[in-house]
């Protein structure tokens, strides 16, 4: 059964927090990975890879640039 968006957000927030030390409460749908959370391209790839493992989805490298906000990533993972 597919995960709800709330479940994906909660799981993604844990991954982001682990990689960056940002509090999970700060990881909300409207936040931009680069502009708001200050996540660089290499940390983003780490988050993407850990999300692939956690949610058992594949996120192609060329798709990562389209995941601007946390909401973009949650939508992609929930729909995968």
């Amino acid at each position: 059964m597919a995960l709800s968006k709330d479940e994906v957000l909660a799981g993604l927030a844990e991954i982001v927090s682990e990689e960056t030390d940002i509090d999970t409460a700060e990881v909300t749908l409207d936040k931009s990975f680069t502009d708001d959370l200050d996540i660089d391209s290499l940390s983003m790839m780490t988050i993407v890879t850990l999300a692939e493992e956690k949610f058992d989805v594949r996120i192609p490298d060329e798709k990562v640039k389209d995941l601007v906000t946390v909401g973009d990533a949650v939508d992609f993972i929930a729909a995968a």
Binding site: D40, S41, L42, T46, D61, V64
Partner: protein
Amino acid sequence: MTTLNVRRGPEFTRILGLGVARGENAVPNDALIEPINSSDEWIRKMTGIVTRVRANEDTSVIDLSERAARDAIAQAGIDASEIDAVILSTISYPRITPGGAPVLADRLGATPAAAFDISAACAGYCYGIGQADALVRSGAARHVLVVGAEKLSDFVDPADRSISYLLGDAAGAVVIGPSDAAGIGPTVWGSDGSASELIKQDHTWLEIREDRDLPFPTLRQEGPSVFKWASFRMAPVALQAIEAAGLTPDDIDVFIPHQANLRIIDQMVKQIGLPESVVVAKDIVDSGNTSAASIPLATERVLRDGVAKSGDIALQIGFGAGLVYAAQVVVLP
């Protein structure tokens, strides 16, 4: 029926001697930031690099190789004439043909050793070690000189933000020969040509012939994709090499990965699950990414700094353009 003789070599091999030659100049980040509109802080954060070693304009790949090789041969305690094969791993030797290895062998006085170049980019040193180990154990050669050498500064674009600022010039050499005990574990190696576009020379020689307005070819990479592949897909390869040697991560004294990027090294340590007691080579901070030379350079560094010693068990893994990769466990010379 006529039967052919076959050769058989010794059961075990080891690294008998190691030598390195770094480019003469330590180039700081500040010297490279203007054309890429960057900062010392950004380069340190993204790569860990503080300086990279680059050679003088008139220093060649062969010059660096010769310096490193002479020290390796001296430490091995053999004469150059006792070398039966010379393997030069490089992607920056500026001729398509002839290769650099015969020239190097001649300079060293190793003639008529078999001599050939291999193109396995940043995995080239570990590819060479795997081949040398096999050549000695098969009886095809008694002593093999393996050299990883690059003058990458000849193939960088100062305005390129993808890879050029990482790269340095250096050579590392080892002599592989017979041993009473196993000093080189099985090589775990492979390739994935479906991702050949991730790290490459930007224009082919034929494209440049057809369009004379194209600039001299330089190197490019898809940094984040390479980071992901190296950081997460190489850990299983490293674990296979440990297992193939009959060991566990707890048996490893030193981890000497290709010095591509400090962020990759840190993530690999985490993914492999190496104990905190393992010394991790981080020569990239001062030497930059020297491709095929980086593992022997980092080996020399941990020995020189006294954080590792002769006889220690080292896990080494190279990975890069191809994509290609190779790993093995070795006993440090």
